[in-house]
């Protein structure tokens, strides 16, 4: 990894709260005047990954839901 690239923590290692905090950081950065255009893609991709991961943790898929409900009926 080169020096001008930002090192991101592996998303799996983040707690939900940490992920949200990072998202809010990225947002603040983008809303400020000193956002680096060179890193825009990098940050946008990271933010999208974080968003998806948070959403994934919050919600279940239909299949998971069916499994859970089936489990409970046992």
């Amino acid at each position: 990894m080169t020096t001008n690239q930002t090192a991101f923590t592996d998303i799996d290692q983040l707690s939900y709260n940490q992920a949200i905090a990072e998202l809010e950081d990225i947002l603040r950065n983008m809303q400020s005047d000193n956002c680096d255009i060179d890193k825009l893609t990098l940050y946008t991709r990271r933010a999208s990954q974080l968003l998806n991961e948070c959403k994934r943790r919050l919600t279940v898929t239909d299949r998971e839901l069916r499994d859970i409900l089936a489990d409970m009926e046992k």
Binding site: N17, L58, T59, M72
Partner: protein, 438 residues
């Protein structure tokens, strides 16, 4: 031997019955605790007891009955006033008449209940528990706990196979937003004497693995009976007040309150309401995610749009900038030329004036010099004139030379017989030296 005068039992009981049929045993108000209450064919049977405050030992006991004809009205009035149904464990003030039945013995036929006494009693007991918890400094501990951002791991304390638990689970797992929840049931008795110890046991079980849970939900099985008295328990309240994660209680209905409602982090009216609140927390988190997403998109769009505008501006500026620069440079050159010309003309006029003056001065100076030279020459000529040998000769001096023409400067150069030639102004004459006196 005379037959002893014996009564039949019927006769005895009749006498007892007559003795008990007194105005001061009719329609009297009595304070007691209800115990072993049960319904049978619409009639409500119970034991009215009086316990020793310290030992809990039963000091007095009488059977109590509310006939079906009165029970519907009495129980409805009671429920309306107290927010709960008549149940065992309640302190009640009842009006009734002592009745003696030959076959069933003494009982107290209740015709009315004063609900305000029960409300007061329950309230007094609850206040006692709360004051004790406050004195111990633990009353607000659970109430002031902070919730995790998304509470989704939920330990449920309830009676198994209860309608309320089913409602809660159904509501939770069929939420429209597909929120993820993880629940586990910790069973406990939710009515009767076993309530407090079994709920405490369930809390202890949850506490052994506390990091796996975000909150505890205590919900009652539901059903018609509203036996909440067993929840107004000091030990149970103390356990909930000091529980390390937030506790939601949903054990009553609209008007039912127990001491747990004052110490738990949150009180909900129904199990369904507990589920709805948890879902609303998850939905708020989802909404927050969505708004972050929208804001991010907006920011990225804004940033790129701004960068594009900047580029476009620079592009258009670049196409005209060289020509403009040349024009500006040209103008500057012209201005410089004009300035230069002005400066030069000013400088040369000064210089030429100075030259003219110099020429004039030169002319005067040279004339004067010539004049001076001429005068000098004149005086020199005169001086020269005066010094010339001719002039000297004219003034009477002569020049003596030898015959070879060399000038004689001293007398000693001459000797007897030397011929000399004397030059005068007007000619020469030759002589011979006769005598020298040197």
């Amino acid at each position: 031997m005379t037959e002893p005068q014996a009564l039949t039992l019927v006769q005895l009981n009749r006498i007892i019955g007559k003795a008990l049929s007194r105005p001061d045993l009719s329609e009297v108000w009595v304070m007691a605790e209800m115990s072993d209450a049960r319904l049978s064919r619409g009639h409500c049977y119970m034991e009215l007891i009086d316990k020793d405050l310290d030992t809990g030992e039963v000091k007095a006991r009488i059977k109590g009955v509310i006939w079906a004809s009165a029970f519907a009205r009495i129980s409805a009035d009671f429920a309306l006033a107290t927010g709960r149904n008549l149940a065992s464990g309640m302190k009640v003030m009842v009006r009734g008449t002592v009745n003696y039945h030959s076959a069933y013995g003494i009982s107290f036929i209740i015709s009315d209940i004063d609900p305000s006494y029960t409300v007061g009693e329950v309230e007094r007991r609850r206040r006692e528990i709360l004051m004790r918890l406050q004195k111990e400094g633990v009353a607000d501990l659970n109430r002031t706990l902070e919730w995790p951002r998304v509470p989704w791991r939920i330990a449920v304390i309830s009676a198994p196979n209860a309608a309320g638990y089913g409602d809660f689970i159904h509501q939770l797992y069929h939420n429209a937003s597909h929120l993820r929840f993880h629940t586990r049931l910790f069973t406990a008795a939710m009515q009767g004497a076993d309530t407090a110890p079994s709920v405490i046991a369930a809390l202890d079980a949850i506490a052994t693995d506390i990091d796996s849970w975000d909150c505890v939900v205590i919900i009652r099985g539901g059903g018609a009976t509203s036996d909440l008295v067993s929840f107004d328990d000091y030990m149970l309240a103390a356990n909930i007040a000091q529980f390390p994660i937030p506790v939601i209680v949903g054990i009553g209905h609209e008007r039912d309150v127990t001491v747990l409602d004052y110490v738990a982090n949150m009180r909900v009216k129904t199990p369904t309401a507990a589920a709805q609140w948890l879902i609303s927390q998850g939905e708020a988190a989802l909404q927050h995610l969505r708004s972050i997403g929208t804001l991010l998109l907006q920011s990225v769009t804004d940033l790129t749009a701004h960068a594009m505008r900047q580029l476009a501006y620079m592009e258009s500026a670049l196409s005209t900038a060289p020509a403009a620069a040349i024009e500006r440079a040209d103008a500057r050159c012209r201005r410089a030329a004009i300035t230069l010309a002005g400066a030069v003309s000013r400088t040369t006029s000064v210089q030429s004036a100075r030259l003219d003056a110099t020429a004039e001065a030169l002319k005067i100076a040279s004339t004067r010099a010539v004049e001076r030279a001429r005068m000098l020459l004149g005086s020199r000529a005169e001086m020269l004139e005066a010094l010339s040998p001719q002039a000297v000769l004219a003034r009477g001096f002569t020049i003596t030379r030898r015959a070879d023409g060399t000038a004689v400067r001293r007398s000693s150069e001459l000797s007897h017989g030397t011929e000399i030639i004397t030059t005068f102004a007007d000619g020469t004459s030759s002589s011979v030296i006769q005598y020298t006196n040197n």
